[in-house]
């Protein structure tokens, strides 16, 4: 737990309709966060469209994100990345910071089933979309069969790239339950491994795909 979290009043999870009155919201009297009607962003209904200017965020905000199926409150600034929000505000340290420039895939999380890079997305841009991290793939503490396949095939060594690979593989299998060998390679082509686990990662995904189809 960081100094920042101790410095703050750490709120409990609130309902989706909760509205933050903290921070400074220019232009919109109350400040309605979340609920994008199209894609991402912070627009809501046209409440307050008559007042001056579009919604503006400045300085610390409390926002609500849906993470691993739970509505979660988190304090961020506009410049806070999703990865920072996860790792440094919410202590979800499974997703890793390796390059912080979108070049290595270690921070891969799912946004509504699609693999994206937490370090290249602003937390305030997530909106209503569902964030799934590696921590959210194990149900009730039981490894998913994909995670189990990684362990069985030894598709990990130091393990630092592993959460990113597991999430990318999960995204692949959700969109393509029967991938060819080439599609598997392409599916994890955005994830770097320095220890050299690739061959066994490919095997693990194949095994997991078979197991899933068998169900």
């Amino acid at each position: 737990m960081s100094q920042r979290e101790l410095d703050q009043d750490q709120g409990q999870e609130e309902t989706a309709s909760a509205v933050s009155r903290r921070g400074f919201l220019k232009g919109m009297g109350g400040g309605l966060l979340g609920t994008a009607t199209v894609g991402t962003g912070l627009l809501g209904e046209e409440v307050g469209a008559a007042v001056s200017g579009p919604p503006t965020l400045s300085g610390p905000q409390r926002i609500t994100l849906s993470i691993n199926g739970k509505r979660t409150q988190v304090e961020v600034e506009p410049r806070t990345t999703l990865l920072e929000a996860l790792r440094d505000r919410l202590n979800l340290t499974g997703s890793k910071e390796v390059c912080d420039r979108g070049q290595c895939g270690a921070c891969t999380v799912l946004l509504d089933d699609k693999a994206i890079l937490g370090c290249m997305m602003l937390a305030v841009n997530v909106g209503e979309r569902e964030v799934t991290t590696v921590e959210g793939l194990a149900e009730e503490g039981e490894m998913s069969e994909l995670q189990a396949a990684f362990v069985q095939q030894d598709a990990l060594m130091c393990g630092f790239c592993t959460p990113g690979f597991v999430v990318s593989a999960e995204a692949l299998l959700r969109s393509n339950p029967n991938p060819t060998a080439e599609q598997i390679r392409q599916g994890v082509s955005g994830n770097l491994c320095r220890c050299g686990t690739y061959p066994k990662v490919f095997e693990a995904i194949e095994v997991a795909a078979k197991n899933r189809r068998g169900r």
Binding site: A36, G39, P55, L57, P78, A115, I116, L122, S189, G190
Partner: protein
């Protein structure tokens, strides 16, 4: 990143006023902007989040096809209509970066992205493109830099979709303070002699709303080939986009555009001229490829791009034969 205000306009007409003072930068997918902010080569007061603008989303049928500038690269690559009728674009989109970045990056962002030059991307180098006095690539490390159209800056334009879209005859729908205007993508990019501080014709107050593709002709064949050192993530060391209008087995007309070799996507009409009225024989292909690289002016370390580009174009044309 330096702290900024995040402004999220809900109406397209509100965007210009947020950009025209030069203190705002557009946030679409964020995959280029966030890199620049983290390196602190850009430190805008205001980030204008355009993701909520309805008009910028979706691929719609029109005379040809109309793609919102916020369409993700992944959606472009996977759209059946793009694959069927605009092959070069589908192939280009599929080759961009990595799966994760394709899910995040947008078509508009891909066209407007800033250079990848390592001097440009570093806060340690006050280069020409950032308002400084020198292009460090000239006497520095320039393996990835321009062999055409360079000077005074030698960056290459990093977009993959741009050469494909130009080859396919794309037009941009641009919105700004003065309203709406259409501009051929072929006329959109600007080299360093025309414009140092950006790579295109957008005014401070403007953004790309939609990208329009003309109705495809049944006789069109198109392809896109990208060469890079690593098979993923890497930007093109050289790329070729070819769209040919065939008359039976002869070439009637077409466009060939090179990527990764010039500060702007590099059209080579001279190469097309070599093909007009001929079949795609190996002689015709060789002539076209030689014409495409005619006049190349390599730097110390990038001479190989001449051979590479010539061979890449030959291969693309062979594939269309």
């Amino acid at each position: 990143m330096r702290a900024f205000d995040l402004v999220s306009p809900t109406r397209l007409q509100d965007v210009s006023s947020l950009l025209e003072d030069g203190k705002g930068q557009i946030l679409a997918g964020g995959t280029d902007l966030l890199d620049r902010l983290k390196e602190r080569i850009d430190q805008p007061e205001r980030v204008v989040d355009i993701n909520g603008l309805r008009e910028l989303h979706g691929i719609t049928n029109g005379v040809g096809l109309s793609l919102g500038s916020l369409t993700t690269i992944a959606d472009v690559a996977e759209d059946g209509r793009v694959r069927d009728a605009y092959t070069a674009l589908a192939e280009a989109a599929a080759s961009v970066a990595t799966p994760q970045l394709r899910n995040m990056g947008t078509l508009g962002g891909n066209l407007c992205q800033r250079p990848r030059c390592w001097y440009y991307r570093s806060n340690d180098y006050p280069c020409l493109k950032k308002g400084g006095h020198e292009c460090y690539a000239v006497s520095g490390r320039n393996k990835y830099h321009a062999i055409f159209g360079g000077g005074p800056s030698y960056i290459v334009h990093p977009s993959d979709t741009a050469p494909a879209l130009i080859a396919l005859g794309a037009e941009l729908e641009i919105h700004g303070a003065q309203g709406e205007r259409m501009l051929a993508l072929a006329d959109f990019f600007q080299g360093p002699r025309e414009n140092l501080l950006s790579e295109n014709a957008l005014g401070l107050d403007e953004l790309i709303a939609r990208i329009h593709l003309p109705k495809p002709k049944a006789s069109t064949r198109s392809t896109f080939l990208k060469f890079r050192e690593k098979q993923s993530l890497d930007f093109a060391v050289s790329s070729v986009a070819v769209a040919l209008e065939m008359d039976g087995e002869s070439v009637r007309d077409g466009r060939i555009v090179l990527g990764g070799v010039a500060p702007i996507p590099w059209s080579v009409p001279a190469a097309v001229e070599q093909l007009q009225g001929r079949t795609l024989s190996s002689a015709a292909i060789d002539d076209a490829a030689a014409a495409a690289v005619e006049g190349a002016r390599p730097l110390d370390e990038n001479g190989f791009k001449v051979t590479l580009t010539r061979n890449l174009l030959r291969r693309a044309l062979q594939q269309l034969a």
